[in-house]
């Protein structure tokens, strides 16, 4: 039970990497605050996490005998994000870690000059500014506690570029910049900020994951064969599992990674090593 007594906020917790991470953290004994928009966004062309999915994640976490609070909230709303943190502090007395996992993969699939202003904005607003808002909301609390760990879920798209994917790539690159800068801001207070860069993560039906097929669409990869095609680019000859990403998150939120801050942990089966 290495996370016993810790309180962790996970955004985008309804499904996918968010659900996998939340459950793994719960199994390690952490109390959880699960955040998801639990609704659709008009500009996003696919269905986002639902209340039912969020409730299911909560149920999976509770099975590990930890306390869980579900807080539906849109990370584009600063006030809502601050309320989540305030609620967490009221209920649990502290916030030990935040996993900024909320992210959207579309609207994408267009070259730069074809992207509309609000398409560009919504991508950055969720994928980059959302993490900034949450960091802003917990930073003071963690600094006062003299302890804390913020984990930003970036992507291999934060390390290299992809065609027709500029907004996502920009946001994910920016997220790494935010990670490093915030790490320096908070280092004197023993609060750490790190990023995880997942590569091609398989959409696990149990986790109700969706991201990879949406990315396939944006990258013009036929969805029926997208897994096979992505695998060919993997030196390990297999896709990454969401659980693998969750393990990196587990390490970074805990005391075992005490000496690690401002760094990037890449979980991509060797994709960017080429």
């Amino acid at each position: 039970m290495s996370l016993r007594g810790k309180t962790i906020i996970v955004t985008g917790a309804a499904r996918g990497i968010g659900r996998a991470s939340a459950e793994l953290l719960a199994s390690a004994g952490a109390d959880l605050v699960l955040v998801d928009v639990a609704d659709d966004l008009p500009l996003v062309p696919y269905a986002l996490g639902t209340e039912g999915q969020l409730a299911h994640t909560e149920k999976l976490c509770r099975a590990h005998d930890v306390a869980v609070l579900s807080c539906p909230a849109d990370v584009r709303d600063l006030r809502a994000v601050e309320d989540v943190v305030a609620t967490a502090v009221q209920r649990f007395g502290r916030v030990d870690a935040v996993v900024n996992n909320a992210g959207i993969a579309a609207p994408s699939g267009k070259a730069v000059h074809e992207i509309g202003e609000d398409e560009w904005s919504v991508m950055l607003d969720v994928d980059l500014f959302g993490a900034w808002r949450m960091t802003r909301a917990v930073g003071g609390t963690m600094a006062r506690q003299r302890s804390g760990s913020i984990v930003n879920i970036s992507s291999t798209a934060g390390l290299v570029g992809y065609r027709n994917f500029a907004a996502y790539v920009t946001a994910k690159h920016g997220l790494i910049g935010l990670t490093r800068a915030a790490a320096l801001d908070y280092a004197p207070f023993k609060v750490r900020v790190n990023a995880v860069c997942p590569g091609s993560v398989r959409d696990d039906p149990v986790l109700e994951g969706r991201m990879l097929s949406e990315i396939a669409k944006s990258l013009d990869v036929p969805v029926s064969e997208h897994e096979e095609i992505f695998v060919q680019a993997q030196p390990t000859n297999e896709l990454v599992e969401a659980g693998d990403v969750a393990e990196a998150v587990l390490w970074l939120v805990g005391d075992g990674s005490r000496g690690v801050t401002g760094s990037v942990v890449t979980v991509d089966g060797g994709f960017t090593a080429k």
Binding site: M1, S2, R4, G5, D31, D65, A67, E82, D83, A86, V89, Q90, R91, F92, G93, R94, R144, Q145, R146, S147, D255
Partner: protein
């Protein structure tokens, strides 16, 4: 409800990192009442906290009530775990409301958990709030007043992280629960519980008084809300003559006094009186009525090193694990429980001395732990043992000195002839013969001869001053002294002296067969004089059987054999030589006497070790540190002085005579030759025949600076006792007593002193010797040696171990050695003087001031030496130990590069007033003070400041206010102020 207290098990299961953020909150749990509607509770909570003066911000809801569904009965382990987790959850450091209410809805009812910060709401207040919110027949809606302001957001920033501000490390909280005996009808009284806590502490600390903080509340009315608890210090004094009844009465009186306000009350939690043990006691409050069952969870009370919180027949001890080891605390609780039981059972007229901390089983276990085990050795006489070895290997070389050698046969024969000669000189069985000779093979012959003649030898060092030799001769009533070679030496007045040359002449015609001798192994073999720190030297009388027992006890562990070559380095007057000589000769080895000058030059000594292929080397740590310097690459300095010898063959290096700080061995770890050597640290005393314990020192001990002296050798035993001779529990510091086969017969002609130091052990029937050394017993039976009891100094109430300060100084990479001794300043107060030896390769810019600066980062101010004097080498006595009398006058810390000339000019010509101020300061401090020396930098403190003012007055100087001194802390600055 015991479930509340079992939460501590869950707390202890947290990692030390988590526990270093202690719980400064506590909680009240109400259960057994009717199921409550959370909305109603929330409204009541809002009402209660409405009057609380706290700054709110944002969307925080002051009266929020959290509801958790727990799908189990409340006694189900899963429900209990959930309750524990709630109890261990902190309240936010700042927050909208001072109380958090979580309703755990179990299958069989609600548990209402009210949590608050201890610094905001004390126990009584929290209970009042809980009652007011939970409702029920007893809670009238009375006004609740707030006493202390509650911290708002932004207050207390970082304070939780800085807990442990005493200068110790971070506070790491732990908890230990224990139960106490109860008489059938009533729980033990508060007085009894307080008395048990205090008395047990007194025994652990070996004191007759102890101050315990007892928690009480400033306000009587529970309607006043706030943090009004404080720990009032109560002092209990108990001497051996008192009875348990008197102890209880005093505890009762002290507790009664709690109700009255104290006039000069010391601070609650934070107050630190040096030397005062910080134990705090709290008693559970009664919480009658209200239709609910009320349980209290005290959290961990950070800031107080040890808290005993009583709950009826259960108690919880909350302590800082970084300060007090868990095993020790558990043991302490066990002992205080035993004491409490005895206080309750035994009649009031029972003398307090009859209270036992340790029961028979525990005592037996402790004794066994520190027992070296049985020694299967027949008592023998030293010379008989030698004769057997000689018979077995007559042609092996026994002893050599420069080019002279003697085989075993030759040594035996010559000693026999000398023994006859001694007899012819009138030496009789049971006499004492002084041996005061230069080092030579004949020295060993004479020692052996004296033993063979049935007498005991009294070794005297030729280097001693004549008065000392005369004193020894007289005190020991020597029949005669075998004196140095040269017949022209004046000899020792008032005793017959025969030069060894004369003795040899007399021996020539004598037969080389043994003298008829009826010496019993229990009779004296030698008398060695030791000086204590006070008084005249006294002779320790050691019988034959002790020496042979020591050899037998160590023979197999050290694998002594005829192939070994031993060095004989130490003065014959130092009992280490007994070990060198007889350890070698009774195991068939070859003894190499180290010539006088080789012993004084590390390079020549090293050459000797190599050329003679010495395998067993015995050294004092001071002496070895010289050799160790030669282990460093490049230390020989220059190609032409580089020793072209080979590597040492030493397989066994035994340290004795002084405490060893294993870090001096660091250079040897990988050095040629030494890396194959086994290092052994042996603690020993002359009065128990050279050695008591042995500890092999490996890389681990060297790297950690582990000063354990190990376990007793077979046949020897050790116990740690308090000043009254009572056995102390394991882990508790006391005086080391030694028993077993090595205990000497006593002090020659000093029956009183012998009676004081050599005690009869009622349990084993044997004798033990009080060593005057402090130490404690570790769980694995090893002894941790904690320095001479008189190396402990009390400076301004602080108890300081000079060895500890020395250890810190030794960590400075610029120093190769250091010593710390107590000194006195002119105000009559004690201070610490540090003497330092800088390494040759240390930067010249790094002076004593820099050493001081570095040490000041580690040592608390009261442990920082006041003076810092550099030396080129440590003055040593004949025995190789530090010669305190030869240390130069102490000096204040100076930065590097300050040449003596500069120092002089710094204190040279000055204006009249400045000169007077400097000289006054110099008088008070006891060393020359320059015009720019900083008062605190040279060891000034409030006592010296007062003294300084007084001396100023005496000399008719303008008056010196202490605050002026503190603001202008140099003589120059003071002079400037006074001139105005």
């Amino acid at each position: 409800m015991p479930a509340v207290l079992t939460a501590y098990e869950s707390y202890d299961a947290l990692s030390p990192t988590e526990r270093s953020k202690p719980l400064d909150h506590h909680a009240i749990v109400l259960s057994g009442g009717p199921r409550a509607d959370p909305e109603v509770l929330a409204e009541r909570l809002r009402d209660v906290v409405a009057g609380c003066p706290v700054v709110r911000q944002g969307a925080e809801e002051p009266g929020k009530v959290w509801l958790e569904q727990v799908p189990h009965r409340s006694d189900d382990p899963r429900a209990v775990r959930t309750l524990h987790r709630e109890l261990l959850r902190p309240v936010p450091l700042y927050g909208p409301a001072p109380v958090r209410l979580v309703v755990l809805r179990c299958e069989d009812g609600d548990q209402l958990v009210f949590t608050a910060a201890r610094g905001c709401l004390d126990r009584a207040s929290l209970t009042s709030v809980a009652r007011a919110v939970a409702g029920g027949p007893d809670s009238s809606p009375r006004r609740l007043w707030w006493d202390l302001p509650v911290a708002g957001p932004g207050d207390g920033e970082g304070e939780a992280a800085d807990a442990g501000a005493d200068g110790g490390g971070p506070d790491c909280r732990a908890a230990h629960r224990f139960t106490v005996p109860t008489t059938p009808d009533t729980p033990p009284s508060r007085a009894a519980r307080l008395a048990a806590v205090a008395y047990t502490a007194m025994r652990y600390l070996d004191r007759t008084d102890v101050t315990v903080g007892v928690v009480r509340r400033r306000h009587r009315s529970a309607a006043v809300l706030g943090a009004a608890e404080e720990a009032v210090p109560l002092t209990l004094t108990v001497t051996g003559a008192d009875t348990t009844g008197e102890l209880l009465a005093r505890a009762r009186t002290a507790l009664d006094g709690l109700a009255r306000p104290a006039d000069d009350r010391q601070e609650a939690w934070g107050g630190q009186e040096p030397g005062t043990p910080r134990i705090t006691v709290a008693f559970d409050e009664e919480s009658p009525g209200s239709g609910h069952e009320v349980s209290y969870f005290p959290g961990t009370w950070p800031g107080a090193p040890l808290v005993v919180h009583w709950f009826g027949d259960e108690a919880v001890c909350l302590f800082d694990e970084s300060r007090h080891g868990r095993e020790l605390v558990e043991q302490y609780c066990r002992h205080l429980t035993a004491v409490l039981g005895q206080l309750l059972e035994q009649p009031p007229a029972t003398p307090v001395d009859r209270l036992r901390l340790l029961d028979d089983d525990e005592e037996a276990a402790i004794r066994e732990l520190a027992d070296g085990g049985p020694l299967d050795a027949e008592p023998r006489c030293v010379h008989r043992s030698f004769e057997e070895v000689a018979a077995a290997q007559p042609d092996a070389v026994a002893v050599s000195h420069k080019r002279e050698t003697l085989t075993y046969r030759q040594l035996d024969a010559r000693a026999n002839r000398f023994a006859h000669a001694l007899r012819s000189l009138g030496v009789e069985h049971g006499d004492r013969v002084g041996v005061c000779m230069e080092r030579s093979t004949d020295l060993v012959v004479v020692l052996l001869a004296v033993l063979k003649s049935g007498a005991a030898y009294v070794p005297m060092d030729v280097g001693y001053p004549v008065e000392r030799l005369a004193y020894t001769a007289k005190d020991a009533a020597l029949r005669l002294v075998i004196g140095p070679e040269k017949a022209s030496d004046p000899g020792i007045p008032s005793v017959r002296t025969v030069s060894v040359a004369d003795l040899a002449l007399r021996a020539e015609p004598e037969p080389d067969i043994p003298v008829i001798d009826r010496t019993d192994p229990g009779q004296p073999a030698y008398v060695i004089y030791t000086s204590g720190t006070t008084g005249h030297p006294k002779g320790v009388v050691v019988p034959h059987r002790n020496v042979t027992a020591l050899i037998e006890a160590t023979r197999s562990d050290f694998a002594f054999s005829a192939r070994d070559v031993w060095s004989q380095f130490h003065s014959v007057a130092f009992d280490f030589s007994v070990w060198e000589i007889w350890g070698c000769l009774l195991t068939g080895g070859r003894l190499v006497l180290v010539p006088y000058f080789s012993a004084r030059s590390p390079e020549s000594f090293l050459e000797l070790l190599v050329s003679e292929k010495v395998t067993v080397l015995n050294q004092t740590p001071s002496a070895f540190s010289e050799l160790a310097r030669l282990c460093r690459p490049g230390a020989a300095g220059g190609a032409d002085t580089a020793p072209a010898h080979g590597t040492v063959s030493v397989r066994l290096l035994i340290f004795g005579g002084e405490a060893l700080d294993p870090r001096v061995l660091r250079p040897c770890l990988d050095a040629d030759g030494w890396s194959q050597c086994r290092f052994v640290n042996m603690f020993g005393i002359t009065e128990t025949t050279v050695h008591v314990t042995a500890q092999t020192v490996t890389r681990t001990e060297i790297l950690h600076g582990d000063r354990s002296v190990g376990r007793p050798v077979p046949g020897w035993s050790v116990s740690v006792r308090d000043s009254r001779g009572r056995l102390l529990p394991q882990g508790v510091r006391g005086e080391i007593h030694v028993g077993g086969a090595g205990v000497a017969l006593g002090y020659l002609d000093r029956p009183e002193l012998t009676g004081e130091r050599f005690l009869d052990d009622p349990v084993t029937g044997g004798r033990t010797y009080r060593s005057g050394d402090g130490g404690r017993l570790l769980p694995d039976g090893r002894i941790e040696h904690m320095g001479r009891l008189d190396n402990q100094v009390k400076i301004r109430g602080y108890r300081i171990e000079t060895d500890e300060v020395r250890a810190v100084l030794l960590e400075d990479p610029a120093l190769s050695d250091a010593v710390v001794i107590p000194g006195r300043d002119q105000a009559g107060g004690l201070r610490l003087d540090a003497y330092l030896i800088f390494r040759e390769d240390a930067a010249t810019a790094y002076g004593t001031a820099e050493v001081r600066e570095r040490a000041a980062k580690v040592l608390p101010p009261y442990m920082l030496p006041s003076t810092w004097t550099p030396l080129s080498e440590m003055p040593r006595t004949i025995n190789g130990k530090l010669d305190v009398g030869e240390l130069p006058a102490p000096r204040p810390a100076m930065p590097g590069n300050a040449r003596p000339a500069e120092e002089e000019s710094a204190t040279g010509e000055q204006s009249g007033l400045l000169a007077q101020v400097c000289s006054t300061w110099s008088e008070v401090f006891g060393f020359t003070v320059g015009p720019d020396h900083d008062f605190f930098g040279i060891g000034g403190n409030s006592l010296l400041a007062t003294r300084l003012s007084a001396v100023f007055r005496e000399k008719g100087l303008p008056p010196l206010q202490t605050r002026d001194l503190y603001r202008n802390p140099t003589p120059r600055a003071i002079a400037a102020v006074l001139e105005r």
